[in-house]
């Protein structure tokens, strides 16, 4: 039975991590396309509109892959996590069903209009369609975060006689205090991804001296969004989310920060490797007392370390949790530096000629994907060993009747299929980028 559980976990982890590579661009790009369409309406400059058309083409490819890799997610709650679904369906079934009814219909209906209806809808109508697609994707994100927030910090439920949980306070579920920072942090993370992708394509055009006018638009809009996004993703949203974890899951917080012993004036670990045998950090590089200050705004405040909690409450994989969190924070810091530098050069009117800086912008686009993935790994590894924090262990959530052999069959199938989809996706996006914005079609 442990084999089956492991396969269920690997399959969910793999399919969700792969899936989320696409919605983060969808949600971020949805906003940037609205910005481009808005700039077009405001400045009456056709280049902005043509840029929006170009990005709509990439958006459509990305959206299609996001949709098809998203379908298995909702199904897997039932197929692989039947016990969890029976236990918690009376609560999270609400948010998942609302996602379908309120977000998916909105998104899919207006995407068709946005992609095929520019002529029919007129300028403002087409702008409105873009706004609706953006709203749909951000609403979808809200319901998913509300679902995850409940698993991280369950509330607003009552238990039935058979032990299953049912929602008892609708607005309590939708306004879970966990949601606010996690949602804003996550959505701005998506904007950072889209901003880096747009900047990267712009830098590519400038460096290779083609579509230069569009390259400048992409770099300008991308750096603007990237600078604002990189700042907001760290403060206040990232900071707020860490405080959520420190308040509601203190043992997770200790694991993330690599703090083994409780202490007054705890240090902020920058680099180091958790040594789970000796229960200490190897090769530590840290800033003394900073963790206490960041968490409680007092240099000598006490922060609880892992040792303050019984071992069976510790996150299952502390080193991976610690690395995920530090990779996310480290990359986030680098993003701020890159975007601040690019914005400074842009302000000095030197960026378009500074090839070294454009090279950095060109090559930086994979890292926000890594940071977003690492962020989600932090959230999910931090929740372990719980499936619903404090209420249900992951071990007890899997389907009772699905054997390891059947699970492996579908896991291998997903691996093969997603590999092919990845190759096709890259091929099509590279092809669009090569065709360039001039050839992205006209109004139709």
């Amino acid at each position: 039975m442990e084999d089956a559980l492991l396969i269920d976990r690997v399959q969910f982890a793999f399919t969700i991590m792969y899936h989320y590579l696409f919605p983060q661009l969808t949600m971020g790009l949805g906003l940037l396309i609205v910005v481009l369409k808005g700039l077009f309406l405001w400045k009456k400059d056709e280049r902005y509109n043509q840029s929006a058309r170009f990005w709509a083409k990439i958006f459509a490819i990305n959206f299609a892959v996001g949709v098809v890799t998203g379908i298995p997610m909702e199904f897997q709650f039932g197929t692989n996590w039947a016990r969890f679904s029976t236990f918690a369906g009376g609560v999270i079934g609400q948010t998942l069903a609302m996602e379908g009814v309120f977000a998916f219909f909105l998104e899919s209906s207006f995407l068709g209009l946005f992609l095929f209806g520019e002529k029919k809808l007129g300028r403002s109508g087409h702008f409105l369609a873009a706004v609706m697609v953006f709203l749909g994707s951000w609403l979808s994100g809200y319901f998913i975060i509300a679902t995850n927030a409940w698993m991280q910090h369950p509330l607003a439920y009552a238990a039935a006689t058979d032990g299953s949980l049912h929602v008892s306070d609708y607005w309590g579920l939708l306004l879970n205090p966990w949601i606010g920072w996690q949602y804003t942090h996550n959505m701005i993370g998506a904007v950072v991804t889209a901003a880096f992708v747009m900047t990267s394509v712009g830098a590519f055009y400038l460096l290779s001296n083609r579509n230069v006018e569009y390259g400048k638009v992409f770099v300008r809009v991308g750096v603007g969004a990237g600078l604002i996004g990189s700042l907001l993703v760290a403060f206040p949203t990232g900071d707020g989310q860490v405080k959520n974890v420190a308040t509601y899951q203190p043992v997770t917080f200790a694991g993330m920060e690599g703090l083994f012993e409780s202490k007054e004036g705890a240090e902020l670990m920058l680099i180091g490797q958790p040594d789970m045998e000796k229960l200490r950090m190897d090769n530590p590089l840290y800033v003394p007392q900073l963790l206490s200050f960041l968490t409680h705004y007092r240099w000598t405040a006490e922060v609880k370390g892992l040792q303050a909690f019984p071992k069976e409450q510790w996150p299952t994989n502390i080193p991976l949790l610690y690395y995920s969190y530090h990779i996310m924070v480290g990359l986030g810091t680098i993003f701020m530096a890159i975007m601040a530098l690019a914005a400074f050069l842009l302000w000095k009117k030197k960026l378009y000629q500074a090839r070294w800086a454009l090279w950095i912008l060109l090559l930086a686009f994979p890292f926000p994907y890594i940071a977003n993935t690492a962020g989600w790994m932090t959230a999910e590894l931090g929740r372990q060993p719980w499936l619903v924090y404090g209420l249900m262990r992951t071990l007890h959530g899997a389907s009772p009747t699905v054997s390891a052999g059947n699970g492996l069959f579908t896991l291998l199938g997903f691996l093969g299929m997603y590999f092919v989809i990845g190759v096709l996706f890259l091929f099509l996006v590279v092809k669009r980028i090569n065709q360039g914005p001039e050839n992205a079609g006209s109004a139709h």
Partner: protein, 348 residues
Amino acid sequence: METLWFVLVSFMLTMYVVLDGFDLGAGIIHLYAAKTDVERRLILNAIGPVWDGNEVWILAAGGTLYFAFPLVYASSFSGFYLPLIMILWLLMSRGLSIEFRHQVDNPLWRNFWDVMFSLSSGLLVIFLGAALGNVIRGVPLSKDGYFFEPLWTTFTVVPESGILDWYTVIFGLVALFTLTVHGSSYVAMKTEGDVQTRSRFAAGKAWWGVMATTIAGITTTFALRPELLNNFTKHYWGLLFPLAALLGLSGVWYHFRKGQDTRMFLSSTLFILAMLGGTAFALYPNLLTSSTDPSASLTIHNTAAQPYGLGVGLSWWIVGMVLVSGYFIYVYRSFRGKVALPTEDAGY
């Protein structure tokens, strides 16, 4: 309240079959009805702006089943593990076929996705039909509400059933023929010329298949599960479903002969509504019937979520459906009429 949610979940699944049904059916006849690249783009343009929205119905229906009857969702999804994951793979292949085909202007690329589109549409319909067959036939539920069925055993219904046996294969074929008629009449309604002629022809031929398989399906069902007649004998108004189905089926033939595509499509819609409505009526109050021990069946009474959740669910569901109707009416109005040939790289 449980009964209401039984009706609403059935309604959403029926909407899925009616709406996604026509673009699935268009996929089934795709290779036959459209021979050239231009013709195939016509068919894809006819479903292009709406197929994704249509498919959302099955996601929304799944989500609604999840919150209204959590145990049924958990039990059926894990019990039908392999076929459901295969349905997912088919849904994925099909979605990619529609969205990727037009991205590259190369005959090999386009041929590949055309075949993929048609194949995955056909297989999906057969799988979904067989799934319905399984729900009607019942599954070997244990006392705790779970079961697991292999893909096939010996293809006989007794003593050991599989996802695929001769009974569920009949339902796979009912679905295949029904949605071929449905999709063909939709394509005929949206196109002109050769594509329209071939679609009408396909609808006429498939109609005979609907007749034959439906009769086979109904007679074997009542032979296998005579208790499914009970609701009809208890509540005579339930006989409206078979009557409406009959009206729909003869309407398809009548309007086919007259060459009235829109009316043929509406008749086919009536047939699907009546057949699925009748099935839900006959199964009530069972959501998943146990084939081994009737007391282990999952009914609306032993699986429904708590009244508070069902109550708030109803309020947002109504708001949501008003919005959804708005979107659908707006989108279908925007793309009404015959599809025109796309210019340059616009559309599909």
